[in-house]
Symmetry: C2
Subunit: 247 residues, 2 copies
């Protein structure tokens, strides 16, 4: 084989930086560990049929007025007047089974919005990491790990997850050429993986969440493999990927 | 003291991401280890009076035609018709003593351009790291470490230097609150510092430079404390900072 690594994997640490990394042929993995993508994976595990991500609280309110179950979070707090915030625990709720939900969050839904024209956009979190990585390596396609960050700045927990996925993909296949971004985050994850909660002790967002008494959320969002669902963007809405059997 | 950490330190991994981090009150440290900021520090150590950074090759050519000594690099290679590229070794040249040089590079001069309205813009490299950190902690001001990256993407060598500076600053003073970006890069540097050349073995740009037979440059650019000069931007040109005596 003339080129043993025909596919690329890299990480982009902020939605703001996405134009620099964008490629219409890549699979983009949206990452917002605390807590949008963890909440979205949980919603599907609890039976949601569809999740419509919207960028603004106003847009979410329009859906709410039409009768949709809606989640809205800003600055890590649930917005008044909505059914849910972005805690995964909010979505462990029998009401959501078979429903279409609408969600807006500070960072995660913005990341989905900027990357919506990529070949495929999927949702990643520690909660579905194994299913996600198994699916990714089967696609034989470039992968971009898009960290939502915090208000477009680098954040530690999304970076750790991007590093964890990079490690998995490079272990499972030698057909990926890695960029410096995901390589650095892989090293970071390797430092952290023995005790990610301790590692995140000094992160900015962890402090923010701790102030809001969200330690239980933090612990859950860092727990691997709570679901095999991979949410995928189709026609502007996230749906459950149906491929695990036929790919 | 009500707030024991009144100053902020953070790292921005790409000039493209700078608008997210910008603050007119910060000192911005421009980082382009392979090789623009290493070359600029070397030029001052060898007696350059002034270095005018310009963004385009065309602009550099105009200065060249006026008789200035000019350096121009694109894609890690010296542009034809100029006196220097961006190898530090090019600037170990008696001709530059007392001269005003003009330099354009793929990444470093763009980073200077985007941040030019900050409180102060200084040039950092391993070659002046100790002098730089000593000066920074004395300023009692927010610090932003701006990595030039590679064509606006994250790169490993600039990130390592940002991590090294973060470690130094946090060790020398407890008056800095760190962002997640510089915290991650500090961890990365701590993994790398025993043998940074080995650590960089898998980086994208190292491969690029190795192909161009620049191993000697790489080794030199990673050698700490070859100069005490801190180049600082004043009225669009870099000059030698005069403060080391009086601050």
């Amino acid at each position: 084989m003339s080129n043993p690594a025909p596919f690329k994997i890299d990480a982009c640490v902020s939605p703001y930086l996405y134009p620099v990394y964008k490629s219409k042929d890549s699979i983009v993995v949206i990452i917002d560990i605390f807590r949008a993508t963890s909440a979205i994976c949980t919603a599907f595990e609890w039976g949601a049929e569809k999740v419509i991500p919207v960028s603004s609280v106003e847009e979410a309110r329009t859906y709410k007025e039409k009768g949709y179950l809606t989640g809205a979070e800003r600055d890590a707090v649930q917005v008044d007047g909505f059914d849910f915030g972005n805690s995964p625990y909010h979505y462990m709720d029998e009401r959501i089974k078979g429903q279409t939900l609408v969600i807006t969050t500070t960072n995660g839904t913005q990341a989905i919005d900027v990357s919506k024209d990529a070949y495929k956009v999927v949702i990643g979190s520690f909660l579905n990491i194994d299913a996600l990585c198994s699916w990714l390596v089967k696609q034989e396609r470039d992968i971009l790990l898009l960290c939502s960050g915090w208000k477009n700045k680098f954040n530690l927990e999304d970076s750790l997850f991007a590093g964890a996925v990079t490690e998995e993909i490079l272990e499972r296949s030698d057909r990926y050429q890695h960029g410096d971004g995901c390589l650095a985050l892989k090293y970071l994850y390797q430092m952290a993986k023995q005790d990610p909660i301790k590692f995140l002790n000094y992160s900015y967002h962890k402090e923010r969440l701790a102030k809001l008494n969200l330690k239980k959320d933090i612990r859950y969002c860092l727990t691997p493999n709570q679901t095999e669902v991979i949410p995928v963007l189709e026609n502007g809405a996230l749906v459950r990927m149906k491929q695990l059997v036929d790919c």
